[in-house]
């Protein structure tokens, strides 16, 4: 590993986020308190202090821990490394990580046209509920990964051009390209896909799903 890569890894790998630490400390605190009340001094369960403390743990602290953990999970599951933890994704991530690859996803990754969370950025819809929808779909995918799924894996629908457009649309060079100008309404309405043989090259290798 070269020193540049090492420096990036060192910066990214400082351990848990602050919210992660809060979740960890609160969880351990709750467990210790419950055990102290229930096991070490059972009479405390019947005393107001014990009951109120259990009430606080069950109704306030634990739900806070759950919600904070959920927010940490949502953030951490956006990383390319997380996507790569399912073996079916290995081929796709190996390709984007390959400096010689000329696939669209790889170019975006290699040149850091997308700075981070590259998989998530291109696979979450634009809009207020885009991220939430992508996360729900992601949870379904994780479930499917453990319970079984059909191969080859495919998108549910035609790729949404607006995901490309949220970065490219404001760029003058994009706007002034003849093909884009001529087909603007078709591109904006998703009648014509950005991806395909006539326009931009394929995003990933067709057989990437086989490489597990």
């Amino acid at each position: 590993m070269n020193p540049f890569e090492q420096s990036v890894n060192a910066a990214n790998g400082l351990g848990l986020s602050m919210v992660g630490w809060i979740v960890l400390i609160l969880s351990i605190l709750c467990i210790i308190l419950i055990i102290r009340i229930i096991v070490q001094d059972p009479k405390k369960v019947a005393r107001p202090f014990g009951k109120w403390l259990l009430l606080l743990i069950f109704f306030v602290l634990s739900p806070i821990v759950y919600l904070l953990n959920f927010s940490v999970a949502v953030e951490d599951s956006k990383t390319v490394e997380f996507c790569n933890s399912c073996h079916i994704m290995n081929g796709y991530v190996n390709d984007v990580d390959d400096p010689d690859s000329e696939y669209l996803a790889s170019m975006h990754y290699q040149y850091r046209w997308i700075a981070g969370e590259q998989c998530f950025t291109c696979h979450s819809d634009y809009g207020l509920f885009g991220n939430a929808k992508a996360k729900m779909t992601g949870i379904k995918h994780v479930w499917a990964y453990y319970t079984g799924f059909e191969t080859p894996i495919e998108l549910y629908d035609t790729y949404n051009n607006h995901i490309c457009l949220r970065c490219h649309a404001p760029v003058i060079a994009f706007q002034e390209t003849e093909e884009h100008e001529e087909n603007a309404s078709e591109i904006l309405s998703n009648e014509m896909s950005c991806l395909g043989a006539d326009c931009h090259v394929r995003t990933h290798p067709d057989e990437a799903w086989r490489e597990q």
Binding site: S27, C30, I31, K43, V45, P48, K51, F58, N69, D76
Partner: protein, 84 residues
Amino acid sequence: MNSRNLPVSSLEGGWTIGVGWSRKVVILASVLNIMALLLIILSIVNFTPFSLLASVSIGGAFMGAAILLYIIVVFADLKKRGVL
């Protein structure tokens, strides 16, 4: 009957959570809550798709069940004391 032989709840002015079936339910709720918290700790320490799924779905179900059980005990307690 002197105060030494009374159930703990009587000493505390009517609270009965620590007595009989309600105590068992509180212990069950506590165990469920601890299991949910352990799953969350696992997810924080070793974040994988499996630990994510376990902490969010199984952990959430355990935590929800613990809350429901405690609500049942509190309602039963209040009913017994004639508050409800």
